[in-house]
Symmetry: C2
Subunit: 465 residues, 2 copies
């Protein structure tokens, strides 16, 4: 129970100024970056400054039966940090130090609250590279990236957050501090807790520190934009690039709705009559980049690209990526509410997926723009709506469910990189079956017997009280 | 309980000929490839032919409280498939089909019992590549590779089994069949069970099917052998190759004891006065391979290599790798018993680790040869002994424990790729702490409440009866 005594206990651990209790302060932790999810005001916000403080905070919460909502920047898109009624939000942003960059072992050891782009900058200064680049990387924390297993534009070639987590310091739901994994490239000592915790959405404990894998920074890169009159030509191009042994760092698609909206917004000369645009970047050493770029251009042309633009200068490269980067904001300004999905399918099923989304849009008379990481099948169908329009929102919910159904029919998954959170928790059994979901719940409660860590998220289970 | 009725139940599921009960047959499943571990004869061996049969077998075992020992080829080196008294060994080798090679999505779907090298051959025919190459790949099964998270020579550049498991079909310890992961490159729907099960050593269920990630087959490769008078020169070379942005596919080391033993055995002209040899292979496209090989040779020479041999023909390449491949068998023929460890440290601590092992050898007057995957810090100190010599075996056990202690002091891990099994289970708390080990046990029993799946392995806990 949260009363003045508990509040004082928390204050004793973290210091008075790091326990927030005013209505205004609590309100600003009642929501995150997710649209279409109702805010819930927590009872308290606590900002620990060390792993030991996190441990003590969790122990108090355990004793008092208070739910714990771990949070970084709150930039997730699945309602992953929406509080429940009887809860304390534990904010990790004070723990934002890069503790070490180990150039010999190619690792960085960082606290959970460090901002993603700060890691990028610090390691790139030393000629190293931390590839995961979620859209929110300028505000998101590494802890949040780990909780959600964040992806990004560079996932096709370099993988996602999970692929770069070598070791973790974790405060368990019962307050004990454990360290798992480490700086060794290989480690089979016990179940792989670093991987289990990456993507566990704060339901199994609080990650306080991480050992990140780094790689050498690629020498150079080349960016291209290919314009297609036919969606199928774009889709065939995607498969053909990869089966021709070129793995671009980035291989993005924008559909007609997205192209029109971006052009209307940014006026950068996109062809609004095209059915699809592919945005492609290859990287590596000079010779390989030259060779790969030539191959990509040839494959695009062979599959009906009307035009392939190769960026010759840094400015031209920026222009290409400005189109992609403005996709979400351009779509978002069309309507008050933007529901961004991330249903993901095997690469070969992308054209069927895009066509399916278009049919759903027609069926429910909704505006849906689709863009995303075509190379890894991770699409972002984006529904433009207004959450005050109850009638339309009902259609939106039906459309979202049908988008999930199509993705699963096409051997896909509910979420490629945004996470399940509360937004998709009720759909879990569709993909995993009741037995699969039960296995997840068994794991959850084996580590968190009182179910205090981020209730309702991911496994769709838990108490408010 | 196993009696005639239970035996008949198993026979009804898998067919009479696939239930083994004779003393001779049971004996041959009482041990695996691990030295220094006592054999235990199981009550029964059952060979199911399908996932449904595995599920039924597990359900019978559950009902009767019989321990279940999942097994492929039994080529593991940690006692991972040694039975307990009241147990049925469930052998997966009948389920050995490659179900699909999907060239568009770069995946192979295979049954658990398929032999690793059969996967290599089948996908390479299509210009694709499945990198994990454990030493036992000609006999080991993919299911066993998954259970142990097998590594191999190509781990430095391409990673280990875990990095290639996209989806699994699993029979849970209570008999339910679940499918997790799939053909999508990105998937954050729920805890990452494919990664949790990879390396779980058969303690959480039986993997029956896997979706493997494939990559394009590298165009070409070049192999080199560098001879060093000083161990430090070899160690500095390892770090320098990688910090110079060359990631060799393979970067192996052999120490003086190993060199002498191999030369004595194979007479291939190795310099027995050298302190260390590095064996290096780079792969990729022609231009990159040329460039990388030149860089490697230069770095070797700069760090005191007496000689660097570059293989100019396929035969010369074979000669280089014959030296490495014969290391274990050469060492093994010196003494009746070969205790092969795989303590692993961060790359930068390799010289300290090798020196530490040498000191332990001197202290206990033991013959220890060290070779292994230097590039990823995964060393194989190999103790040559005779298990009939009780006095020496006591020294061996002490030496092994001290090797673990040094590895952990040097920020390393008990096992890089061989697994924990029963061989190292009693050392787990040294690395994970009691709280960490308890977290693993909590997960284990949440999925396997009766503790029937591969007791004693990994978490060092379980009943014989």
């Amino acid at each position: 129970m949260i009363n003045n005594m508990t509040i004082n206990d928390f204050k004793e651990v973290v210091g008075d100024e790091y326990v927030l209790t005013s209505k205004e302060e609590l309100l600003s932790y009642s929501y995150d970056s997710t649209a279409g999810v109702d805010p819930v005001v927590p009872k308290l916000v606590v900002k620990p400054g060390s792993t030991e403080e996190v441990s003590k905070v969790i122990k108090i919460a355990n004793q008092e039966g208070i739910n714990i909502i771990p949070r970084g920047a709150g930039s997730n898109l699945c309602g992953g940090t929406i509080p429940v009624k009887n809860s304390v939000v534990v904010v990790l942003t004070r723990m934002n130090k890069i503790l070490e960059i180990d150039e010999e072992n190619l690792t960085a050891t960082v606290e959970a609250g460090v901002i993603t782009v700060d890691v990028h900058n610090a390691v790139e200064e030393k000629g190293l590279f931390y590839p995961p680049d979620p859209g929110s990387m300028k505000v998101s924390t590494i802890g949040g990236n780990i909780a959600e297993c964040a992806g990004g534009l560079r996932g096709l070639k370099y993988g996602v957050t999970k692929d770069y987590i070598m070791g973790l310091e974790i405060v368990l739901p019962t307050g004990e501090i454990i360290e798992v994994g480490g700086k060794t490239v290989k480690n089979v000592t016990g179940y792989d807790l670093p991987k289990l915790y990456t993507g566990s959405e704060g339901t199994l404990g609080i990650v306080t520190k991480a050992i990140l894998k780094l790689i050498p920074k690629p020498d150079t890169h080349k960016s291209m934009m290919a314009i297609f009159d036919e969606l199928d030509g774009a889709a065939e191009t995607i498969s053909n690039i990869i089966s021709n042994k070129v793995v671009p760092v980035t291989l993005e698609i924008m559909d007609k709705v997205t192209i029109e909206t971006v052009e209307d917004f940014a006026e950068i000369g996109l062809p609004t009559d095209a059915e699809a645009i592919l945005l492609i970047e290859v990287d590596g050493i000079e010779e390989v980049v030259e060779r790969d770029a030539k191959k990509v251009i040839k494959i695009c042309e062979e599959h009906g690209a009307r035009q392939v633009k190769l960026a010759k200068t840094a400015e031209e490269r920026d222009d290409i990526w400005a189109a992609r980067r403005s996709a979400l904001s351009a779509l978002a300004r069309m309507k008050p509410t933007t529901i961004l999905e991330d249903a993901t399918v095997p690469r070969s099923n992308i054209p069927d997926m895009i066509r399916g989304v278009n049919e759903i849009a027609k069926k429910y008379d909704l505006q849906i723009g689709t863009f995303g990481h075509a190379g890894d099948g991770n699409l972002h169908p984006t529904i433009l709506t207004d959450e005050r329009d109850k009638e339309e929102m009902e259609k939106v919910h039906k459309a979202v469910e049908e988008i999930f159904d199509i993705a699963l029919e096409l051997d896909g998954t509910l979420s490629g990189e945004h996470g399940i959170g509360i937004a998709k928790a009720s759909f879990m059994a569709k993909e995993l079956g009741e037995d699969g979901l039960q296995a997840l719940r068994n794991i959850k409660y084996s580590l968190d017997p009182k179910g205090l860590l981020n209730p309702h998220k991911l496994i769709g289970d838990g108490s408010d009280e």
